[in-house]
Symmetry: C2
Subunit: 140 residues, 2 copies
DNA sequence: GGGCTAATTGTAATAATGTTGCATTTAGCC
DNA sequence: GGCTAAATGCAACATTATTACAATTAGCCC
């Protein structure tokens, strides 16, 4: 919910501005990764004008608060729906329809940590992205 | 080894050109993610001049043959050292020194496939990146 | 509600990154 | 050593991203 994100913003001392609400709404409705200029175009089509500099700044802020995430493969931004496990960002991306599905799994984190440990590597953050077909697209 | 990559190139019907060797050498020596323009700068400092368009094209080719990989988090390119499991690209990145370590693990792939299956998602490709500290940097 | 002020946004200019079409060069082959 | 398809270079352009500073606004106080 956009409203939840707004509350988190305010709880951290940031203002609930109109541009921030607009960006959050677009991300929430679209449910697909969007570039800053995608967001600008979508808003323009609705008669709302945001400067691209503003959009960049808003996306940076949202990511720093884990309210949005920059997709690894495409570089597009999505709204985070889960309270991610600290430093862990995982998504499935349908390569047919583009829909994304966020997920989290403590066990997977643990196994990855153990695995890396074998290399002497001390893991702090996990990023992972699966691409494939969502259930709807797979049926076809 | 650069020589291995060159052989793979030729085996696939591509030419072993001087620019391709230069790009492979830089990637191999550096062992850190590099942008196309990073590569251009490094070569220029050595008195070698490659057009950025050429570098883009070489990196595209190398990635399409799985001889290089575009890092998820930074967008930089690295030389692949392993014959990756089909459609699976995994790296650890030291957030202190920037060194990267490629890895592969069939079991992890299987677990991820199973996990996604619970969402009805049919996984084809796995991308993952851990960030943390390599053994050297961790000791300090 | 109306003013105050720090936070936020807009503007303009610039930098960095990436792409395209076509001329020129070169690797691999005979 | 020539031939030719493949690869590279060049020029122009398009897109994406950042910076400095001016204008606006959200949240707060009264
Ligand atoms: Mn993230
Ligand atoms: Mn790859
Ligand atoms: Zn789908
Ligand atoms: Zn390190």
């Amino acid at each position: 919910m956009v409203q939840d994100s707004i509350r988190t913003l305010q709880a951290q001392g940031h203002k609930a501005t109109k541009p921030r609400k607009l960006v959050l709404e677009v991300l929430e409705e679209t449910e697909k990764p969007l570039s800053p200029y995608d967001i600008k175009r979508i808003l323009r089509a609705r008669g709302k004008y945001l400067n691209h500099v503003t959009i960049y700044r808003i996306l940076n802020l949202l990511c720093s608060l884990n309210l949005a995430h920059k997709m690894l493969s495409s570089g597009g931004f999505v709204k985070c729906s889960l309270d991610a496990i600290e430093g862990c960002h995982r998504f499935m991306v349908c390569q047919h329809c583009g829909a994304i599905q966020e997920f989290a799994d403590k066990e997977l984190c643990q196994e990855e940590n153990d695995f890396a440990q074998n290399f002497g590597f001390h893991t702090e953050h996990h990023l992972s992205e699966f691409s494939g077909l969502c259930s709807q697209c797979y049926r076809k």
